[in-house]
């Protein structure tokens, strides 16, 4: 695992690092500590990472820009902050967890384990998906997203207005953040349940979800039972 800690308090950074080493153990390939916003942005842009542990207040600056950059990336972001009231905002932008300061090893472990156990966030409060477009991060409101299609390591967001946007996170990671509003109806599709108007069975026992915008999306054979149970 490649992990980055962004924290301007040296003592706290060391504490996080020490705990992460214990929690992740042998799976840890690299851990890096950065204490300024600029350095962190550059690092995130250029390095492959699996997890970023982010303090939102760095040297008196709000780490909001860094947050949107981070959540647009393929890796998961965990915010560690003294400001509990920022938790809601953080979740809205799609962080995996928010660890308030002061924290202990148990709380940090719980957060980190969400990555490994693929546990979904219990309540989905994501309001935006940050998408990288021409070196700029654009925020797409969740109500505009109809479904998400897996495209290799990327995903493709299909929007209400017919436009499409590429997201760096994998379908699995997005499923973790967006459940239960969005359902994985197929290994390549994550669909907003509210958008499904009908489920039909076509020849050869193929199950098809019909969406409000008229599109027809296949439902995986293994998923069908679950979907049917939820949908009816």
């Amino acid at each position: 695992m490649y992990i980055l800690i962004v924290e301007d308090e040296s003592r706290i950074a060391k504490r996080i690092e020490r705990m992460i080493r214990t929690i992740v153990g042998g799976a840890l390939q690299s851990i890096k500590h950065i204490n300024t916003l600029q350095e962190a942005v550059t690092f995130i842009e250029n390095k492959t990472l699996d997890l970023v542990l982010l303090d939102l207040n760095l040297n008196g600056h709000s780490g909001f820009d860094l947050l949107t950059t981070a959540v647009s990336k393929s890796f998961h972001t965990i915010v560690i902050s003294a400001y509990k009231e920022q938790a809601i905002t953080a979740f809205e932008y799609g962080v995996l967890d928010f660890v308030p300061k002061p924290f202990n090893q148990e709380r940090l472990e719980q957060a980190v384990q969400r990555i490994t156990t693929k546990e979904t966030t219990t309540v989905n409060t994501v309001k935006y998906l940050a998408v990288k477009k021409r070196h700029k991060v654009q925020l797409i409101p969740m109500e505009k997203v109809v479904y998400i299609k897996g495209a290799g390591t990327y995903t493709e967001l299909v929007l209400v207005d017919g436009n499409k946007a590429l997201h760096d996170k994998s379908l699995e990671k997005l499923e973790q953040l967006l459940s239960p509003t969005f359902e994985r109806i197929h290994k390549s599709y994550l669909v907003k349940m509210a958008e499904i108007t009908n489920i039909s069975v076509s020849s050869g026992s193929k199950y098809i979800a019909e969406l409000k915008n008229g599109e027809r999306i296949p439902i995986g054979r293994t998923k069908y039972k679950d979907i049917k149970a939820k949908w009816f």
């Binding site: 040296s10 300024t36 040297n59 008196g60 003294a82 002061p102």
Partner: protein
């Protein structure tokens, strides 16, 4: 406020008109008075042939005896047991004969040189009932005028029921005394207010104006209560004119203070000169002088008030209106009454303007209280805001887990900072040493948190100096937050103090690598706090600058003396 003011005006106008009432038809008709120098008892008789007597007498020198004869027609005989009275204002000592009968004496005519002054200027005599039948009568005066030989004549002449003559004046007087008393109380009240705050000169001027108006009223109406010999009369007029002069200068001065205009001193100087020349010119035509001073006071005040209204000065419009109302009053009632009503209206408008100022001051004071409370809270918040508290606690937990001994030292440092903060929390100024102690204890905490070597240096600090609490502390916090340590993992803070005749200056230097700033740096709450604190204690006598250096940051606080 306006409503109350209006009702005051109406009350006052009513009072003014009540003083003017003399609604009954006169019971007599007076014919031309004739004069003759000399002294013959027969001149008192009703049917003496006085055709060769003079219609006017300009001068009777040396206190010689002279006579006056005034034919009178009684239009209506008095009711039984309600005798008529005769009121006279005559300069001189005299005996009064009615139809040849001596009915009264005022002083000692002909003996004024030898006998000390006796009698008074305003006198009332009873006329025996049997001498006031309907028809022709004759009033003869045997006079001498030693003190003002050129003031010959009967200046006031009235016949009416004796009781009414006496009581009417007393009633009018009692009104005017109440009236004067109100202004005396206002004068005392505002004098006390001024003594409580000696910067409030408009209050003092208003107080003096009220007192002068009180004195004017009293001097004017004193003749009813205190007998004044005609030789003293001019003193009373001098006093009245003097008071008028004072009021005429003070009222425009007051308006100048309330509604400032350019070149004030010049205009006031010119006005003073104009007033003084009016005072000197024809000084002994007292009414003339008073009238001229009134007019110039009115013109100058109106000019100031109109300029004030143009500049949107609060209350100026009302003053303009009041001054215009004065014009109406001048042409509806006699000069004497318009003087009192006019002055009281102007004084009331002054009071109104003053009350507006007092209200403004109260609001400003309340705002400053709120501001002080806000600053106090801001200072308190410094150490309980989550960023400080939660980060400190996180580090503290870590120290406790890793090295309990260091953890204890850390807690002690924290306790020290909280303690210091508690001591200064409700102060607006604290000794500089206390502020430095606060900074040092903060550095100690931050050293545990950030694991950077912080150094504190100070030069030229004068322990006797005070400073608003939390100012240097805020600069220190900013320095810590926005700086990265130098290569040797150190950040140094230096506080320099210099003092000269003009100012005290603190220079606060941060020697560190600065964090690169993106875009415009907007003013943070820290800098706002510093500026608000400086304003609270030094008003606008301070300057604060903040600029980056190659290695660090430089702040200066200049406090002008």
């Amino acid at each position: 406020m306006n409503l109350r003011f209006l009702s005051c005006l109406i009350f006052l106008l009513l009072l003014g008109t009540s003083c003017t009432k003399s609604d009954r038809n006169p019971v007599f008709k007076r014919y031309k008075t004739l004069y003759q120098i000399g002294d013959q008892p027969a001149w008192a008789t009703k049917n003496w042939n006085d055709t060769n007597w003079k219609k006017r007498m300009k001068l009777v020198p040396d206190g010689q005896i002279f006579w006056s004869r005034t034919p009178i027609k009684i239009l209506k005989a008095p009711e039984s047991l309600q005798p008529y009275g005769l009121r006279l204002e005559v300069y001189g000592a005299y005996e009064v004969f009615w139809d040849g009968v001596l009915i009264g004496r005022n002083g000692n005519p002909g003996r004024e040189v030898d006998v000390p002054p006796e009698g008074e200027l305003w006198t009332t005599f009873t006329i025996p009932n049997h001498l006031t039948n309907k028809g022709e009568h004759l009033l003869a005066l045997r006079l001498s005028n030693y003190y003002y030989p050129d003031h010959i004549g009967i200046h006031e002449f009235k016949i009416d029921e004796y009781n009414d003559l006496v009581t009417d004046r007393l009633i009018k007087n009692s009104y005017m005394h109440v009236f004067a008393g109100a202004f005396l109380i206002a004068a005392i009240y505002f004098l006390f207010l001024f003594l409580g705050n000696k910067k409030e000169f408009p209050m003092l001027i208003f107080s003096i104006s009220c007192f002068l108006f009180f004195s004017l009223t009293m001097t004017h109406f004193v003749r009813t209560t205190i007998p004044i010999h005609y030789s003293l009369h001019v003193i009373r007029l001098e006093v009245i004119t003097g008071i008028m002069f004072g009021i005429s200068f003070l009222i425009p001065l007051y308006f100048s203070m309330q509604f400032p205009y350019p070149k004030q001193k010049l205009f006031l100087g010119i006005y003073g000169v104009v007033l003084l020349s009016l005072y000197i010119f024809k000084h002994h035509s007292f009414d003339f002088t008073a009238y001229n001073m009134m007019v110039s006071l009115w013109v100058f005040s109106l000019g100031i008030a109109i300029y004030g209204a143009y500049k949107k000065g609060k209350g100026a419009l009302l003053v303009v209106l009041t001054l215009l109302v004065c014009i109406i009053i001048r042409y509806t009632v006699s000069f004497g009454i318009s003087l009192f009503v006019g002055f009281s209206l102007i004084l009331l408008s002054m009071l109104y303007v003053l009350s507006l100022r007092i209200k403004e001051q109260r609001l400003a004071y309340e705002t400053s209280l709120v501001q002080s409370t806000r600053l106090r809270l801001e200072l308190l918040k410094k150490n309980i805001q989550p960023h400080f508290l939660m980060n400190t606690l996180t580090s503290l937990i870590d120290w406790v887990e890793e090295s309990p001994k260091k953890g204890v030292l850390f807690i002690e440092a924290l306790a020290k900072e909280f303690d210091l903060l508690n001591q200064i929390e409700n102060k607006t100024l604290i000794p500089i040493k206390q502020e430095i102690a606060l900074c040092r204890s903060h550095l100690e905490i931050m050293e545990y948190r950030k694991e950077i070597n912080y150094f504190w240096e100070e030069k030229g600090i004068d322990s006797a100096q005070n400073i608003p609490p939390g100012i240097l502390h805020t600069l220190l916090e900013n320095g810590i937050t926005h700086s990265l340590p130098l290569e040797d993992n150190s950040i140094t803070f230096t506080l320099l103090f210099e003092s000269n005749r003009e100012y005290n200056r603190y220079t606060f230097l941060t020697v560190a690598e600065t964090v690169r700033q993106e875009g415009n740096i907007k003013e943070g709450t820290g800098l706002k706090y510093i500026k608000a604190r400086l304003t609270e204690s030094y008003h606008d006598q301070w300057e604060f600058t903040s600029e980056p250096l190659t290695h660090g940051w430089k702040n200066t606080i200049t406090l002008y003396l």
